[in-house]
């Protein structure tokens, strides 16, 4: 099994994680996270789970709308921020002007986005007063995929032109700062041109109508379909834990592909909540925050087992060390210290426990036993039970996480006992020259 992991999974994961564009997508998307967490705060504020409070806000829609201003200012510009961030990171990796490339890609996004004209009234002479506007929906997570595609295309064009050295060169007497402002002209022009032509092509050929529809139908919908079905979700979670089993940060790597998909669904739920409709999606960005109690692999139960039942010094010590971080979903000490990495005994429950947790979470939400995520994003370090409550806006989410902990405990316990026993035998059966090592380890704590 270790051989399979090392020869197949590890190189593949390493490649995916190092791939320049995926890396730019991941690092660029990170720029939106603080905004979304801030926006979530106001979304919570407008939806505190007290009947009297909700009734009060329903009677005062203007007040509710006012509370939601920061939500709209953060959630509803996600695609724009991501476009800039992705282009910035990608340009940075090519060592071309990142700031200029971000600005050009942002412009390219608008070049590729259709506007609508609508009548807002009548002019004095009786003709219709027409306003042209972008729809803000295009800037929300709905436009995220378009933003990703445009940022990548625009930045690729931009850096190719620079690397081919097609830039405006001014005589040396021109101050460098002035010269730099001109050097972005031709690459920027090229990037805008390409998106412009793409838009003209889509608008005049075929039935898609606009670039946003193309990306939605060809990219977003298939990925969403795969990423949110029960089977797809199970496969994704197995992939995450498999990567962690080789010691690679599975959640980050998978996230570079899935985060945009999941965030889109998060904001769809948030939109539903803000407008008072029932939320639809189960698997959103927060789904793994609910499932991974104590970090990837639902290891909090394992750490609790260590603290409560460990007999070997090593496991006792590791339990003490890991329990604090564990409550904040940080579990690298367990993963590398136990270790779970490349440890055939521990990899089994490490994959099995999250798997059961995914199924329990999905099914219990699907049949309505537990409330679905309401589009609120919490930092991944939010302690379990509290996070379940906040994400679902319901006590049922907190109870669900407690159930998941019990189930995971059951899965981990027999394997933990086996490993603990092995360690105990190593310790007590160890020869004399081994004991100083043990003392040294103890002195570290």
């Amino acid at each position: 099994m270790n051989r399979v992991l090392e020869t197949y999974i590890m190189p593949l994961a390493g490649k995916a994680a190092q791939q320049r564009h995926l890396q730019a997508l991941r690092d660029g998307m990170v720029l939106t996270m603080p905004l979304i967490i801030i926006g979530s705060l106001f979304l919570i504020l407008a939806n505190l789970p007290f009947q009297a409070y909700t009734d009060f806000l329903t009677e005062h829609p203007k007040l509710k709308a006012s509370i939601l201003y920061p939500y709209r200012g953060t959630f509803e510009i996600m695609a724009l921020v991501a476009t800039f961030g992705i282009a910035y990171r990608l340009a940075e990796s090519y060592k071309v002007d990142a700031l200029a490339s971000g600005a050009v890609s942002l412009a390219a996004f608008f070049v590729g986005t259709p506007f609508v004209s609508y009548t807002i009234g009548e002019n004095a002479d009786g003709t219709a007063m027409v306003e042209t506007a972008y729809q803000t929906a295009m800037f929300t997570s709905k436009g995220l995929f378009v933003g990703m595609v445009i940022a990548v295309i625009a930045t690729e064009v931009y850096r190719k032109i620079i690397q081919k050295n097609i830039v405006i060169k001014l005589p040396e007497t021109v101050p460098p700062a002035v010269a730099r402002s001109f050097s972005a002209l031709i690459p920027g022009f090229g990037a805008v041109m390409v998106i412009w032509m793409l838009r003209l092509l889509v608008e005049n050929v075929g039935d898609f109508g606009n670039l946003h529809n193309v990306v939605t139908v060809l990219l977003q919908q298939p990925l969403t379909h795969i990423g949110t079905s029960l089977v797809g979700t199970i496969l994704i979670f197995i992939l995450i834990t498999l990567m962690w089993s080789t010691g690679l940060h599975g959640a980050t790597i998978v996230g570079s592909v899935m985060t945009p998909v999941w965030l889109t669904l998060t904001t769809e739920n948030a939109t539903a909540l803000a407008s008072g409709e029932p939320v639809k999606h189960i698997v959103t960005n927060e789904f793994n925050d609910i499932v991974f109690v104590g970090g990837s692999g639902t290891t909090l139960s394992l750490v609790l087992a260590m603290v409560l039942f460990a007999k070997s010094q090593q496991m006792k010590q590791l339990g003490r060390l890991s329990i604090g971080p564990g409550f904040f979903n940080i579990n690298e000490p367990v993963i590398f210290g136990m270790p779970i990495v490349l440890n055939p005994i521990m990899i089994i429950p490490f994959i099995l426990a999250p798997l059961l947790s995914v199924i329990i979470t999905y099914v219990s939400m699907d049949i309505g036993l537990v409330a679905k995520p309401i589009g609120i994003v919490t930092p991944f370090t939010m302690p379990p039970v509290i996070s379940g409550y906040l994400i679902t806006g319901s006590i049922s989410g907190a109870v669900l996480q407690l159930v998941l902990m019990v189930v995971s405990f059951g899965v981990y316990f027999p394997f933990f006992k086996m490993w603990d026993k092995q360690k105990l035998i190593e310790e007590t059966g160890a020869s004399i020259d081994r004991s100083p090592v043990k003392e040294e380890q103890q002195s570290i704590v």
């Binding site: 010691g247 940060h249 590398f336 370090t381 570290i444």
Partner: protein, 101 residues
């Protein structure tokens, strides 16, 4: 000596920072030790004498090595067991060895 540590979010590695600082204090060496997420390394590497990666982001090694060569500092992955057990002393020791090499 300035030691820069890097992992995915800079969180788990900050655990190790505390332990390394403690160990440095005991040895009475003056060290600046700090942890950042992978994408922030670029902004911090100028202040560092050595860059150490958490084992979970060891896929970043080739890329970071290149960066390290440009700046002329060693780049290495932390021993997973030392990392997991937050063995600040050992990590500090190997960092010192790498820098003095």
């Amino acid at each position: 000596m300035n030691i820069l540590l890097c992992c995915a979010a800079g969180m788990s590695t900050s655990l190790l920072v505390t332990k390394m600082e403690k160990s440095a204090k005991e040895k009475e060496t003056t060290c600046k030790i700090w942890a950042v997420p992978g994408d922030a390394v670029r902004n911090h590497i100028d202040d560092a004498d050595i860059l150490l990666l958490g084992p979970q982001v060891r896929y970043l090694l080739p890329q970071m090595k290149k960066l390290g060569e440009e700046k002329g500092i060693p780049v290495e992955v932390i021993n997973p067991v030392h990392y997991g057990m937050c063995n600040g002393e050992e990590v500090l020791k190997s960092a010192e060895q790498l820098v003095s090499k």
